[in-house]
């Protein structure tokens, strides 16, 4: 018997400056759609309507409008940058549709027409900066792409660092897609900061990591690098130079959970043994599942009913338990820290003891407070540099 079909919009750029992430999001979303269509536990199937804005910001508005007018979708999965989400936001609010947004972002937004599936700033920036202050240094050299994610990440970092009597030694910004990184690397070699916080995205980040690795190797310097966005597919793009980067994320391929092992196995069977899922891709996969489970509970695709059915409903996802906080439509996730290794994978060395509620406006942030005395996982990587296991 054919199951009734629910149309779902998928918006992600397959070309342009962040095509790699767009492709990851599409691959993961389609994988989840196919699984749901095959499962007997769902009495409906998804019909995906994929749109490619090609990384052109204004195109997001156009394709979203097209999806709503011409295919009648009520639910859309996608968008990657905040700029793209803000293009889509007025349309989904005006037409009362629901955008399932997979990417981690800088916070300070809370629309009733968006489910924010990615990490909030308290999930990724805070644990990383707290770890840095506790274990590496209170003085940090920041390098990032010149857009809202970097601005806000650096602002939060500055507040925490200043409260700890530390300092931002430098804040160097590059335009998106800029590859001229040598002057920044030269400055780092000259000034020898105790730690570098990298919020560059896309190709700028890959160029920087390679140049940084080459220069510090020649100079015999051991300067740790921090990131809130680096993921496994990017480690493969960067190559051996990517090893040793301390990264904050809610998802790593190496998470030792049965749900993740099964997910990675299915991923590799579908996309090849050499490929790896990424945090934003896995988040898109989770978004499709959260949507499917909410539809099943609601028994209708009506936005209000689906939103109510989705709130607080726990899903044991590849990254662990995830559920939507009904107060702000953001997801409860488990923050983790890991260090990249030479095999283009991450060795986890810390995770929160329990899933953490999202705090998109950072209202619970007490900059003067020290980091929570969370326990570091036993079996943390012995090869991870600059790590102090806190008991």
């Amino acid at each position: 018997m054919t199951k009734p079909s629910v149309p779902v919009g998928i918006i992600c750029s397959q070309s342009g400056p962040y095509q790699a992430m767009g492709q990851e999001i599409l691959k993961s979303a389609l994988m989840a759609v196919d699984e749901i269509n095959d499962y007997a536990d769902f009495d409906f199937s998804f019909t995906p309507h994929v749109r490619d804005p090609r990384g052109v910001i204004t195109e997001y508005h156009t394709v979203c409008d097209d999806l709503i007018r011409n295919t009648g979708v009520e639910h859309i999965v996608g968008c990657y940058t905040s700029a793209s989400r803000k293009q889509v936001l007025p349309i989904v609010e005006r037409t009362d549709r629901l955008l399932w947004y997979p990417a981690r972002y800088e916070g300070f937004e809370c629309s009733d027409n968006v489910i924010y599936v990615g990490a909030s700033p308290n999930h990724n920036v805070l644990p990383l900066v707290r770890y840095m202050l506790d274990n590496i240094s209170r003085h940090v050299f920041c390098v990032g792409s010149n857009y809202v994610w970097t601005w806000e990440t650096n602002r939060v970092t500055r507040e925490l660092v200043t409260a700890a009597q530390g300092s931002i030694l430098a804040e160097r910004l590059l335009e998106l897609g800029e590859s001229a990184v040598d002057h920044i690397v030269d400055e780092i070699i000259r000034r020898k900061p105790p730690v570098v916080f990298n919020t560059l995205v896309g190709s700028s980040s890959y160029d920087f990591i390679r140049a940084f690795h080459a220069a510090t190797t020649i100079a015999g310097l051991d300067i740790p690098m921090l990131s809130c966005s680096l993921c496994e597919p990017e480690l493969k793009i960067v190559g051996p130079a990517s090893a040793g980067c301390i990264t904050s994320s809610a998802y790593f391929e190496s998470i030792r959970l049965p749900e993740n092992r099964a997910f990675v196995q299915r991923w590799k069977a579908r996309y090849g043994e050499a490929s790896s899922p990424s945090v934003d891709g896995q988040s898109a996969y989770v978004a499709v599942y959260l949507l499917a489970r909410a539809l099943r509970r609601a028994g209708t695709s009506n936005i209000g009913e689906v939103r109510r059915a989705a709130a607080g409903h726990r899903y044991n996802s590849p990254q662990g338990p995830v559920w939507i906080d009904g107060d702000n439509n953001h997801c409860v996730l488990t923050p983790r820290l890991a260090v990249s290794n030479a095999q283009a994978q991450f060795d986890l060395f810390w995770e929160a003891e329990a899933p953490v509620r999202p705090d998109p406006y950072l209202t619970q942030l007490d900059v003067a407070a020290g980091p929570a005395r969370e326990t570091f996982r036993s079996g943390s990587s012995s090869s991870a540099p600059h790590l102090r296991v806190v008991k």
Binding site: L89, E109, C110, S111, D112, N328, Y361, T363, Q364, L365
Partner: protein
Amino acid sequence: MNKPSSFSLRGRRALVAIKDERDLSIVRRQFERLGIDMFIWGPGGPLECQPDVALIDDEFLPLASPAPGLRGRCPIIALLGTETPSRLKLVLDLDPASFLVKPLRSAGIYAALVMAFERTERTDELRQHVAKLEDRLRSRRVVLAAVLQVMHSQSVAEPAAFALIRRAAMEQRKTIEQMSAEIAANGRLPRAAG
């Protein structure tokens, strides 16, 4: 003590006068997210809290008593339904620090609050600065009188006379205006400076 950051709103108290139930529920939800305590207020009713900020719907304008007590007590955010000059004139009477356009969305509320707190902070600093300048302006007459007196008694030109007054003020740890008032009263410079 450090002043609270305009970006951190947790624990602040907001007085809210909003007519439309939907707008009110949007504000309530957003305030819960931001950790702001909300007090519903009907214009004309008593002010039962010391608010840090007030959101006033233009539907309630002009405000009945005790609205004059509200003005100047805390930053006011006006909620605009129409943009006609007559309505805006009433809104301007509130001296709002920020505004929001109805129907409300969650987006914009945080920014309006931050703007209101920051604008009020900066306006207060400006007022204090102006008061200080006005004070100094009022005492210019005394300074001029003292300079003329010193020019006459010491047989020096205006720059030298002013320099003597400034040195005397520094030695006695007084402002130039205070020292000038003393010179004008005593008819001469203090001994050490002369």
